[in-house]
Each structure stands twice: as structure tokens, then as C-alpha cells.
Symmetry: C2
Amino acid sequence: MQDTIQIIPIKQIKEIRQGDNLSHIIAESLQQQQLSFENNDILVVTQKIVSKAEGRIVDLATVTPSSFAKHIAKNHKKDPRHIEIILQETKRIVRMDHGVIISETHHGFICANAGVDESNIGNNHTVSLLPQDPDASAEHIRSGLKKITGKQLAVVISDTWGRPWREGQVNFAIGSSGLEVLQDYRGEKDPYGYDLQVSLIAIADELAAAAELVMGKTKKIPAAIIRGYSYSPSSTKAKKLIRDAKTDLFR
Amino acid sequence: MQDTIQIIPIKQIKEIRQGDNLSHIIAESLQQQQLSFENNDILVVTQKIVSKAEGRIVDLATVTPSSFAKHIAKNHKKDPRHIEIILQETKRIVRMDHGVIISETHHGFICANAGVDESNIGNNHTVSLLPQDPDASAEHIRSGLKKITGKQLAVVISDTWGRPWREGQVNFAIGSSGLEVLQDYRGEKDPYGYDLQVSLIAIADELAAAAELVMGKTKKIPAAIIRGYSYSPSSTKAKKLIRDAKTDLFR
């Protein structure tokens, strides 16, 4: 039976630059807290530092906006070069209204501005893009930490998104390595002996949301450990959390 | 700065019946675990046991389905009396396709089947409805626990819902008492001195999702404590998490 879970913030992670070795930096920061990884720990890392390490930062001075981007920017009161990058990261515009662009990214994620973000970058003329393959990024961090620490971990990469019908944003899993992202209770009996009907829990999204509680936006804590959560090791990826267009009522 | 958070499952909660005093039962179960509440603990309780305690259970033998309910039931291969109850709990049908009904409930929640559920009730001819006023339910449990334990707590009532675009379900907050459900970082500076643009975090939803990690569906753990999370005490309610129709692009 599941026992108490801990959510441990990893503090004092330095500002990340392109080419930085995240596994190394995270292991070192944890050590400075007099802590170390244990087997089966889940490391949750925000997209922002992964994008920085992978150089997914664009200097807006290098961007030439299209006429469509200029038109949208005027309506949305935004920088046309920023809009240009959003459009480049977009496979399909899902909604465009109230000054908001909801995009389907090339990965298949549906989120505001195709995940292109201008906050928290050490220069106000740059924007950050989502990692090109967040599942591969998670796998890369996990194998790096395996080498450094010898521990068997799972890694989730999170981003902060809004939701239809609900106010506020929560963290979602955009990349994952080492754990089953969906826990399937279908076919099992509930405690009263009845078949559970619809019980497919998006574990990786819940882990991302839980980790946000120790991160906050202004606290400079871009990573956290979830310890004591009993999960199924698996090679499935966060991509599996993207709903198939055929069963999606809200395309 | 936020430190380590614990998520503590409350085990051995007995099967709840109409009229049961949840505050008393939860405090007792916790005591059996050799634990007790501490000031600022957040108690997360699943909707299911709140609905049971409040008698929000309908015996389908007492239900006469309308002709619309019969028609829908035939297409959806469901019990027409179950559909009848879903329609009674529905203010507006948001989508009806692929055998799924997405309703706006009288509370304003948008979720499958208006939150009417047939699993986990000790009799397969009953369905459970959402509490009539989940914020009031949360307040009731919180003040009950204040009397029993003398501790200042916050209470969140959770339900398990699917999401557009994503596979799987996560827990959401449908009721809340004692904490600010939305943490507003707008107007603050990020660690690099820039204005945070869109940073309104749905804390109560993240707490509900985090608590689900110790609950699971088959483990008979309908309540958990989140300890060590630094929140703003507030009289705001989970109702505040319902997005206004005017700014919702996915009605």
C-alpha cells in the first residue's frame, strides 16, 4: 500500500546556459543540500532549464516576422517577432481569440503560444521554445544521473499550462523517462468488488503538478524530487499522454 | 522558501454511510495510524465519501427515465435511469459524442456525466452525485476538525476528471475551505527581474492531483494530508476555479 510521499525542492541550481550538463548540475545542487538521490526517486525538471541547456532560445533580433505575424501581433499587442516564433512552433492553430493563441505544437501538445515563453530568460529580447523532443531530454537526464549517482531514477519534464473551463495554470508532463505515465485501473475491481469503469490515471501529469507546489514561479527552484511514490518502471513516454484526435471532442 | 512537502495517506477509513460525521471518522482513522493533525495541514478528501455522507446517492429503482434519456441510453449502451440522473444534474450539455456526455453541472463544473458515478458504491443499482455545494462541504469538514483537534486546517474536496487533448484523468478541486485556491504571481518579478506575464497557479487543483498519488483507485484511501505546504489562508472557494464563460475559448 502506498505510504507517505515526499516532494523535495532542489535549491540553488545556478542559471543554466546552452551546453550545460543538467544531470551534473542537478546532482551537485542536491549534494549542496546534504541530500542524495535514492533508487526509484522521480526527478521533475521544468521545461525552462531544459530548453536553456539545449539552446532552445531565440534572440528576437535575428527574427524577421511574416506579414501574417505582423497582422496578428497588431491585434494581440505583441512583438511581431515573438508571434513569428509562435507560428513557427505551431502545427495547427486550435483557437485564436481574446488575445490568446492556442496552438497544437509539432509534438502534438495543445497549449498557449505553442509553449513559446518570454519570461525567466536572462535577456528581455529572447524567447524560449519547448525542447525539440522532451522525452529524449528526459531520457538524457536520467541516463546522465544514472552514470553519476548509480541510482535507478525516473525523470519527468514539466511545463505550466492553462486549461479549458478552469482558471489558473498547473504543471503538465511534456517529457518522461523511466515510469509508466498512465496507470490503468481498468479491469481491476474497486474495494467493493465492482469493475472500475473509467480509471486511467495520468500519473506523470499528477507528478508534475505535485512538484510545482515546491517550485513556485518566483522561487528559482526548477527541479524537485518526488520520493516514496511506488510506480511501474516502463519505457513509455509522455507522448502517450497526447489524446488521439479521433477520441478528442475538443479539437 | 518552500521546503519539503509530505503527502500522507489516511488509511483504514471505514465505509461511509449517509449521516456519518466525516470529520470525526477522519480524525479517528488518523489516530489509528499514530498520527495527528498539525496546524496548516491541508486535508484532501475525495468527493465519493463526501457524497455518501451527505446522502447524495440515488437508488436507480426509484428513477423513471424520460424519453430523451431512453434515447441517449440506447445510443450510449447505458442504463436509461443512469442517463436520466446525469441529465438532471446537467445545466448544459457541452459535447455528446463517442459515447461520452460532457456536461456543465448546476455548479458550473464541466466534466463527464455531470460527475454522476456508478463505481465504488456498495450496491450496483445506485449512482452517486456530486455534493450539492462542495465548498460548503469542505467548510463543514474543516470546522468539524477544528472543534475535534483544535488545529487550523484547510480542506480540499477532489474529483477525478478527464481533460481535453490529454489521455487519462487527474484529480481536480471541486470544493475548498481555508486556503487561497489561486496563487497570483502576476505583477511580481521573476528571479531575473522581469515581470511574470501569465502566472496564476491553480494551487487547489495541484493539491488535489498530488493527493491522488497516495490514494489510487483501488486502495480504499479516500483522504490524504498535505503537510508542509506554505499557503495563504483565505476564505476563497473552489468555485473561483471555474473559468468565466466570457474568457473561455472551449465552451
